[in-house]
């Protein structure tokens, strides 16, 4: 256990993994005949050097914080929730139903209600796989994958047959009332006289996402429930011995996870499109997996990883605009990050551990001068 100092475990190993992932991404760019350095230049230029770029970067970041937290909470209980995509889709349905229910007078009323609706729908969508895992032992990975597809069909059916306004051709709900429109950064920062581009959809949901990070931290590391979830994740038998009910923890962890994924919809459905469309989630549920792995399932890590993926996502869009590199490069980078920080974690960890062990042994062989100096001080 004590082979590595904590900083190496928390920072060094993930950092090396990410560097390897980026190195291979660079190779991929080289292989398709483009210049990786130039590509990074275009990505930074397009996402971090203007308020327009930052606006989109932070908009994507908001999505990924929610889905990253969702996967993290399930990971803490040692469950792999691949269903973030479906839960976010159904969360969108919840947000849309709330927004369309009444002519909202002001966003301050609409936002909490919609947040509740999205989280509730997302949690309910996660509840069935959770129950099947907890009560009948059905593997949660398979059931959540299946529920992604079922969510797609359900949403498709509802949009085409129920939610589509009469006379409209495209499968989408009606536009939300103006009172359900969330203030964007240009409006918020405008109050303080700071100019910000009004084009990007980044909105007040960003702050809700940061609040969610804090609340998840509070829950996981400062409450009894969070302790139980983590204990259950470390050792199921140990947790049972300590009087923790596996059924209860499985259900609660998955409900929180689904709720967080569903809550994402306030950003993409309410904040951006202002109506429910097909494919509104755009794979954010899956990126949450990479974000959670990279962020080591800790809210601070998730925030940083979400920011990085927000940058990659916006930078990737710029790349496809200005160069011959398709947007799918981001999917490749995402895959490599998942591969190296997740599946091939031991490949990096084992040599690092060995290096630290070797150093420890060397130090033990020739005693350091420290103990001799101490009495003199």
């Amino acid at each position: 256990m004590d082979t590595m100092p904590k900083w190496a475990d928390v920072l060094l190993v993930p950092l090396i993994s990410i560097l390897i992932a980026f190195f291979f991404s660079g190779l991929v760019i080289l292989a398709i005949g483009e210049n990786p350095v130039e590509a990074i230049g275009v990505m930074i230029e397009g996402s971090l050097t203007s308020s327009y770029g930052w606006g989109y970067t932070l908009y994507y970041t908001t999505n990924f914080i929610f889905t990253g937290l969702a996967v993290s909470v399930a990971f803490q209980a040692r469950m792999f929730n691949i269903g973030g995509e479906g839960q976010a889709m159904i969360g969108g349905l919840g947000v849309a139903l709330v927004c369309l229910a009444i002519p909202w007078p002001h966003w301050t009323l609409a936002l909490p209600s919609a947040l509740l609706g999205g989280a509730l729908f997302g949690a309910l969508w996660a509840a069935i796989p959770a129950y099947l895992q907890a009560a009948r032992g059905s593997h949660i990975v398979i059931t959540t994958i299946m529920f992604n597809f079922i969510a797609f069909s359900v949403l498709n059916y509802l949009l085409v047959n129920v939610l589509k306004p009469q006379g409209s051709m495209d499968p989408a709900s009606a536009t939300f009332p103006p009172g359900a429109e969330l203030p964007r950064f240009s409006e918020i920062l405008g109050i303080f006289g700071i100019p910000f581009s009004s084009a990007p959809p980044v909105n007040v949901s960003f702050f809700v996402a940061i609040l969610a990070c804090f609340l998840v931290w509070l829950l996981m590391w400062r409450t009894r429930l969070g302790y139980e979830i983590r204990a259950f994740g470390h050792s199921q038998t140990g947790a049972v011995y300590a009087g923790i009910s596996p059924f209860r923890i499985t259900m609660i962890a998955m409900l929180i996870s689904g709720g967080l994924a569903g809550a994402m919809a306030i950003n993409n459905v309410m904040g951006e499109s202002q109506r429910l469309v097909m494919n509104a989630v755009e794979g954010a549920g899956f990126i949450g997996i990479a974000v959670a792995l990279m962020g080591r399932s800790h809210p601070v890590g998730v925030f940083l990883a979400a920011l990085l993926f927000g940058f990659l996502y916006q930078g990737g869009a710029e790349l496809s605009l200005w160069t011959n590199i398709p947007r799918e490069l981001i999917v490749v980078i995402q895959a490599l990050v998942i591969l190296f920080t997740g599946a091939l974690d031991n490949m990096v960890r084992m040599p690092v551990e060995r290096a630290f062990l070797a150093r420890k042994r060397r130090q033990e062989r020739k005693p350091s001068p420290k103990p001799e100096r101490k009495p003199a001080e």
């Binding site: 069935i128 498709n156 398709p326 490599l336 591969l339 091939l344 031991n346 084992m350």
Partner: protein
């Protein structure tokens, strides 16, 4: 009959990629390696088979390239989940994304057609094979019709796919290799005690899985359709996974399960047929979702219990 035969014909065409992928998953999971990367391997194989067929003009070289691509991804999965004892599910997810991204990236670089390959013509595609006497027997009612329109007239890969079912059964249940492979998925420690390499067996299983996924992908791009388009596997790898659970990890049941799911896919292409049979309109989306719903019901254990291989998903550490 005139309605049924075309629907069943489509069923076979749509079920074959599922069957290949399902048998692929069967080998892997029977050896204790979960594989949710079937989808990605299929997609990679679809692209490389179509790309090489388009470039060389030979569908057989395409098939080889497709299998090679799929096996390469299998090797990554093997290294991650066998050698480095990583999480097999996470590795599978990574492989799916890797394939989804790389295929489009490379397709754009090679062909500049927005992530697709040129349409395959002539020898770059698998042609359908007329079985002997199909023409002569087509006049005979029912049996002749079934022979001529349903059994005859598929590409070679369809017949290979059907042959793979008894072959898989024979390998798994009638050979020493199969016995050991199944044992390694149930109790690797026992296999190790008998002096047989757990790692080698698992790598072999993952390799076979790669080859079969390669066939699935090659059939998609060069048999079922003429060329590769972005994301063309469209969830078939996951349906195959569902079929595998439905089949409870047994080869013959895998055939029935994939045929059932293929039939559902064929029906969702012909909502008019469903309507005339059931006398009311069934939403297409319901038929699309049915395989997944059925799998969840099976997984929940309401219709017989699906018990996976015992050591599935667990990596094996040799005692030191």
């Amino acid at each position: 009959m005139d309605v049924l035969i075309p629907v069943l014909d489509t069923t076979i065409r749509l079920a074959i990629p599922l069957l290949f992928a399902c048998l692929a998953g069967l080998f892997s999971e029977r050896a204790g390696i979960f594989d949710i990367g079937l989808e990605g391997k299929m997609l990679a194989a679809a692209f490389f088979s179509a790309a090489f067929a388009a470039i060389t003009g030979s569908v057989w070289l395409g098939l080889l390239a497709g299998i090679a691509a799929s096996v390469a991804l299998s090797a990554i999965h093997g290294i991650a989940s066998i050698t480095f004892r990583g999480n097999q599910l996470i590795s599978g997810v990574a492989i799916n994304f890797l394939a989804a991204g790389l295929t489009v990236l490379i397709a754009q670089d090679w062909f500049q057609q927005g992530g697709r390959t040129p349409s395959l013509v002539g020898g770059a595609r698998f042609e359908s094979i007329e079985l002997p006497f199909a023409e002569a027997l087509s006049g005979v009612p029912i049996f002749g019709q079934i022979y001529a329109d349903l059994i005859s007239g598929h590409t070679i890969l369809v017949y290979v796919g059907f042959l793979c079912v008894p072959l898989t059964w024979w390998v798994l249940f009638r050979t020493r290799f199969g016995l050991r492979l199944r044992a390694v998925g149930e109790n690797p420690a026992a296999v190790d005690t008998a002096g047989i390499s757990v790692y080698a067996l698992r790598y072999a299983a993952v390799g076979i899985c790669g080859i079969l996924c390669g066939l699935a992908g090659a059939y998609l791009a060069t048999g079922l359709q003429a060329g590769f388009v972005k994301d063309m596997s469209s969830g078939r790898g996951y349906i195959a996974l569902a079929a595998l659970i439905f089949a409870k990890w047994r080869p013959w049941y895998a055939l029935y399960a994939t045929m059932l799911f293929g039939f559902l896919q064929a029906l969702s292409l012909r909502p008019d047929v469903v309507q005339t049979i059931l006398q009311f309109r069934v939403p297409v989306q319901f038929l699309d979702a049915l395989p997944y719903v059925l799998t969840v019901i099976i997984l929940a254990g309401f219709v017989g219990k699906a018990i996976p291989p015992k050591a599935g998903g667990a990596h094996y550490v040799k005692e030191r």
